[in-house]
Symmetry: C2
Subunit: 440 residues, 2 copies
């Protein structure tokens, strides 16, 4: 699974952040496409090019409420010398049996209605007397109140050129043209186009189902009473929310006690609904770090490609990490550390790109930028580790929020960026340019 | 309802875009708060300040896997001259009955476990022989495999200062401090903090329920057969997706035929599940524009504050617009025009800010910026109208996509911005600076 031999220090081998991410993205594959109803496909990635089956609009139609007439009949007219035409009836939108408009005739026509045979142009109702004989009108009276508007005579006060106020068949898109390209993310305007060309469903990569479970015998569900030595489970909530935010359908399993057998059976139970599993805690060097112990034996051990590898990364926070695949379907699993800030930062760096790769997105990473560091004093960072500090970014300037401690969840809640301090930098002075990950 | 008298032209009075938006935002009020489970509150706005009930962490605890010891017992030690301490047992995370660490003693301690009484500092396991007597180790063996690790002796090779590797009670947040301010939008890190301080549920403004219905006898459901004079309904799909994108729970009712009685009863049926109703089509000057006709009589006509007002705006696309409130609860309703581009642009300008106001968000508008126009020829715009052209924005430059026609849904699907041409501008040259609405 490893892309390269890790750097070694005096003690443990250390992998770089980039090596770990590369291994994850080399393993995770976009999900198989499925056909989804249009609105269920919102936010998903189109798998095939979509071709226009029928031109849009499918027929010449009026862009105004008015009268469909022949050009010659309204040539040179004015308010003083109007054309007086015989109204042969209404053409409403959606009407299929069309009138014929002959010389000296007009059909009252509604926006979107097909241009009837014989008619060459449309004059807006505001250029006519609307059949009332009292000069220009502002609109038509509702047909239910004045059915006589569909008959009688109409005075036209202004001329119109051929095909004025007519939307030509195919003027939006023509049959056979490509409407959307494979790889397009379906937002509201793309859904509008797919509906407009008649697509009720579409083949996309589905949203990945992500199961989040935290581990730790000290964890209590928020809202319950806190006992001695206990803390509230926040990771399973934070990462479920973050997985949704990344585009996944996320399931929070909640906290599992530090018992290898319980953890193993919980993970096996969850495989059925998981395209990706994310655990927190139990990946370090302690005697009760059961995630390591449990996950080397999940699923069929004889299956090639299965197994979780635990590593130390040259990173702070987030040094201990696990990644691999488990079970008969080789479901990918990320075992993140348990400190709240470590797990959140690890999720942003590794789980979010994995989720977005499963979705088939091209752009799997958070945007990055450079910013000027605004701080009271220099930031210090351990040698040989890439540090990710919480920051508040505004218009090219970033300020650290809280300290480097991986338990500082309050500061995390007031940050909107991660300040990246590279491995070979031990101190960053105020005013220096730093790389920043924008958390959106 | 009007904030100001509209500008009048030779024909109809025209309201400005800003006047119409102002009237909408003056009418729409944030929804009443409800208590939601933490994960159901994701993306919602917090109603009250949240205070920390119990300090975080709630007790002094270890930040490492290692041994809890007394400072004097490890002072001056080295690999050559280690301290040899008696291991009195394990302190695991979540453990409530704590050992006492006396002089010459050590408790094996796990990350997150409470610092036991008597202990003053923590030495990481990597600074010890882990009880194995063979020099520095990389970690502990799982307790299930080596229970003897909780007893025997341990050699400590490096000294530690008082409270090294100890996270102090309250070092994250202290009881009584404000964790989050009213008005905060709850993203993953804020949910992390709320969980961490024990909040299982939280009072927020709920996501508004938005009912979208399109009108038009010409409309056919995508996926069905298109008859003569018919087109596919795209507006109800596009605006349902756009309402979700704005943060709403959206319900697509689909296309209603141009019959006032059907429309009226459909709208009345939907009131029960709507915080906002959005219709498309039927708002212009045609004889079949039934939205106008129907919606002046919805709900209790005697109720003050109810009623829909139909206007013409100095805007292209999107001239005809309706807005007001209907039914016993004065549910706000936006009646948007029916052309696909008109309805989408109107939604962006009027419905999206209304939805975000219902959510209690401070920032209800799409971001705007200025950009340099990249185009082959000048853009023309009708005098006295604010025009919104579809554009593609990239790094300070915007290019028009497709023409100005309000039926051009294919171009809309390839745009990510609206180019704003003010009322008093009739032509914009290539290279000019233009205002741009970024569609996200």
């Amino acid at each position: 699974m490893s892309s390269a031999a890790p750097r070694t220090t005096g003690q443990d081998p250390l992998w770089s952040v980039d090596e770990h991410l590369e291994d994850i993205l080399a393993t995770v594959r976009p999900l198989d496409p499925i056909e989804l109803q249009l609105l269920d496909a919102q936010g998903c990635v189109l798998v095939d090019d979509v071709t226009v089956p029928v031109s849009l609009p499918p027929f010449d139609n009026s862009s105004m409420d008015g009268y469909a007439v022949r050009v010659a009949d309204v040539a040179g007219v004015s308010e003083e010398f109007p054309a007086v035409l015989e109204v042969v009836g209404d053409v409403a939108a959606g009407q299929s049996d069309l009138l014929h408009v002959g010389p000296g005739q007009a059909a009252r026509i509604m926006t979107g209605a097909p241009l009837p045979p014989g008619a060459e142009t449309v004059v807006p109702v505001e250029w006519t007397d609307g059949g009332l004989g009292e000069g220009p009108v502002r609109g038509m009276t509702a047909r239910s109140l004045a059915p006589e508007g569909a008959a009688g005579q109409v005075c036209v006060y202004r001329p119109a050129e051929a095909r004025a106020h007519v939307r030509a068949e195919g003027s939006d898109v023509k049959a056979g043209e490509r409407a959307l390209e494979a790889g397009t993310v379906l937002g509201p305007p793309q859904i509008a186009l797919l509906a407009a060309i008649g697509r009720g469903s579409v083949r996309v990569r589905p949203r990945p189902r992500v199961v989040v479970l935290s581990t730790g015998s000290e964890l209590v569900q928020p809202g319950e009473e806190l006992g001695s030595g206990q803390i509230y489970d926040s990771n399973s909530f934070a990462l479920t929310a973050a997985a949704r935010d990344a585009g996944a359908l996320a399931y929070r399993v909640g906290a599992v006690a530090d018992d290898a057998e319980t953890l193993r059976s919980t993970v096996e139970d969850q495989l059925i609904r998981a395209d990706l599993l994310v655990t927190t805690g139990g990946v370090s060097v302690g005697a009760y770090d059961v995630v390591k112990e449990a996950l080397s034996h999940v699923g069929d051990a004889d299956e090639a490609g299965s197994g979780i590898e635990f590593r130390k990364l040259a990173m702070q926070p987030g040094k201990p990490q696990g990644f691999g695949s488990i079970g008969p379907d080789h479901t990918p699993l990320l075992a993140l550390p348990g400190n709240p800030v470590s797990s959140y930062v690890s999720f942003e760096l590794f789980a979010r790109p994995a989720i977005r790769t499963l979705m088939g997105l091209q752009d799997v990473h958070r945007p990055r930028t450079t910013a000027t560091l605004a701080a009271d004093r220099a930031l210090s960072s351990p040698k040989g580790r890439r540090q990710f500090l919480r920051g508040a970014y505004d218009d090219g300037v970033v300020s650290p929020v809280g300290g480097a401690g991986s338990h500082l969840v309050a500061a995390l809640a007031h940050a909107d960026a991660l300040i990246v301090v590279p491995e070979d930098v031990e101190s960053v002075e105020p005013g220096a340019e730093v790389e920043v990950v924008l958390l959106g």
